[in-house]
């Protein structure tokens, strides 16, 4: 069984910033998107249990190498890094095109994606890629198990979960409930140094550079500002009974109770 994990290299949470062109500055230190690491962990667990081979795939700048190397140290067998100067500033449509082309070049039974990314929070790319590939899409998984002919997942609902089944190959989007990612072992870190990391360009994927990137973007950011400051907290430091009385008055004054 082959599993490809789509892993986005995002700015370390808390350090994100926009460049003067209003695009996310990706020259800062990058880390694996937190929601993608749950899928990597699940893929590695399936690899341990079923002898799967795990490939991590990213589209991103040079700094994405580091999180890819970490994924290899955690246990992925190989990494694919799609990098091209022309990609910067790509919109969702172009991102989907690039990921779809990259996945077409890989052989897999399951492609895993995280629920969304810390820098974009879209949560739509996995579904779009699945449609483009003509593959089943199963989302919001809290559990993923291979079956004889395909894959079975638990999809979270507001009251519990649905059990979904589809033939493979399939694209599966999963959640944090799949389990916390492991830490790379010292041995894993050593082994990662010799594991294959393929670099692909747009030309390797047969994509015209003019069809992606900021120049061809169908959307644009108009402005970015700091959010209006909240007025700042009023502190209540009285003893509990008095504090609660003040709190109740406050809620009543705002018509919240």
């Amino acid at each position: 069984m082959n599993i490809v994990v789509l892993l986005k290299a995002v700015p370390v949470v808390g350090t994100e910033r926009l460049g003067s062109d209003l695009l996310t500055d990706r020259s800062v230190q990058l880390e694996a998107n937190g929601n993608d690491e749950y899928l990597l962990e699940k893929a590695l667990k399936l690899a341990d249990a079923h002898g799967a081979e795990v490939t991590v795939l990213t589209v991103g700048p040079a700094g994405a190498t580091e999180p890819l190397r970490k994924a290899l140290a955690m246990g992925a067998a190989c990494a694919v890094h799609v990098a091209d100067d022309a990609i910067r500033g790509s919109d969702t449509r172009a991102t989907v095109e690039i990921l779809t082309a990259a996945l077409r070049k890989l052989t897999f039974d399951l492609a895993f994606v995280g629920a969304d990314t810390s820098d974009g929070q879209g949560g739509v790319v996995g579904a779009a890629v699945a449609v483009k590939l003509g593959l089943p899409y199963l989302s919001y998984a809290s559990e993923i198990e291979p079956t004889d002919t395909g894959v079975r997942i638990h999809r979270l609902t507001t009251t519990g979960y649905d059990v979904l089944e589809a033939p493979t190959p399939a694209v599966v989007m999963g959640t944090q409930l799949l389990g916390a990612p492991r830490y790379p072992s010292l041995r894993g870190i050593m082994q990662a140094r010799t594991k294959p990391m393929d670099g692909w360009t747009l030309a390797d994927l047969g994509i015209d550079a003019a069809s992606v990137g900021a120049a061809s973007s169908t959307t644009k950011t108009l402005d970015a500002d700091r959010p209006p400051e909240r007025a700042g907290a009023t502190f209540v430091r009285e003893a509990p009974d008095m504090a609660v009385a003040q709190l109740v008055d406050f809620l009543a004054s705002r018509r919240l109770i």
Binding site: R93, A127, Y137, S139, G160, A166, A224, R230, A243, R254
Partner: protein, 324 residues
């Protein structure tokens, strides 16, 4: 003269609250652009759900056999077929789990441009202008489309749902020859006992963090939520600890919510949590540590022990209610 559509969602035969918000938003954008608004309801029993949307504007009902299939697999190809037939300018989709699946599938099916994570949407000349809160709330950005068509994924509570001055008509459309997406089967549907009230659309949320101490500590959080008529939320730390289900998690890897009131109990306010709740109307923090980061985005900060404050607050609210 833009035609603006909203893609509705149905739960238990009725349109969701988010659907009525989208219908309202579509109408406002249409008014601003001098165009028309329309809400699509694709579901089993679409006509009945559509009639509940009609007070908010014109509705198109598409009856669809949804049995044994995930919602998005039923909705996306039918919306796509209608998009191809009628070529509306912009389509609003809700940022629910099903909505995001539908939006992603529509991108795959139509190659339409998309903007997502919209906290507010207004009209700017030729296209919607979408406000998003990015990078953990450090920035508020506005984005728009370069062209005159696109999809906008809109979060809950971007507007307050408001019926139109004149109710819309329900149009029933039959779609034949739909090319379905690759099949996924729903083989079972499990309801977990004691599932908590959903937080996505709650007007009031009481959140608990590590400071609540234990799974038992959540009983007092639940009691306060019940007194306030709200839902229970939680931080990632306590969800990871198994004190409460993931469905209640607020924050970067959980849900982004916008209640009128958020009461944060024993929550320090780490950035990952802040992302999920910072746009709440009013934020009250109850925490022993006045230097906790939540002080930066709370409106009222009660410095005290949650075990002393929360039960007293519950009691005071219940007493107030029974006093009428």
């Amino acid at each position: 003269m833009a035609e603006i559509w909203a893609v509705g969602e149905v739960a238990d035969g009725q349109p969701t609250k988010l659907t009525l918000e989208l219908a309202t938003l579509a109408r406002r954008l249409a008014e601003a652009s001098g165009g028309q608004a329309r809400t699509l309801i694709v579901a089993e029993g679409a006509q009945q759900a559509a009639s509940a949307v009609a007070p908010y504007g014109p509705v198109t009902a598409v009856e669809a056999d949804a049995s044994g299939r995930p919602v998005a697999l039923v909705v996306a190809p039918r919306v796509s077929a209608l998009l191809a037939r009628r070529q509306p300018s912009f389509v609003l989709v809700g940022a629910s789990n099903d909505g995001k699946d539908i939006a992603g599938m529509l991108v795959g099916l139509t190659d339409l441009p998309i903007l997502y994570n919209g906290a507010a949407v207004d009209w700017a000349d030729t296209a919607p202008r979408v406000e998003m809160s990015t990078f953990g709330g450090k920035l508020v950005t506005h984005s728009t489309f370069n062209g005159t068509r696109g999809i906008v994924v809109v979060r809950a509570a971007s507007v307050t749902a408001e019926p139109a001055a004149t109710a819309g008509q329900v149009e029933v459309v039959t779609l034949d020859g739909i090319s379905e997406l690759p099949a996924v089967k729903v083989v079972d549907s499990i309801t977990e006992a004691g599932a908590a009230a959903p937080i996505e659309e709650a007007r009031i949320i009481v959140g608990g963090g590590r400071g609540v101490g234990s799974p038992e500590g959540f009983r007092m959080i639940e009691a306060l939520a019940e007194a306030l008529g709200g839902a229970v939320g939680a931080t990632r730390a306590v969800v990871d600890a198994g004190w409460i289900g993931y469905s209640q998690q607020i924050g970067q890897t959980g849900k982004i919510v916008k209640p009128a009131l958020y009461v944060a109990c024993g929550i320090s306010g780490a950035i990952q949590h802040k992302v999920g709740v910072q746009t709440a109307g009013t934020i009250v923090a109850i925490n022993r540590d006045p230097d906790a980061p939540i002080a930066e985005f709370a409106d009222l900060f009660v410095v005290g022990d949650v075990f002393e404050i929360v039960p007293r607050l519950t009691e005071a609210i219940n007493a107030r209610k029974s006093a009428g």
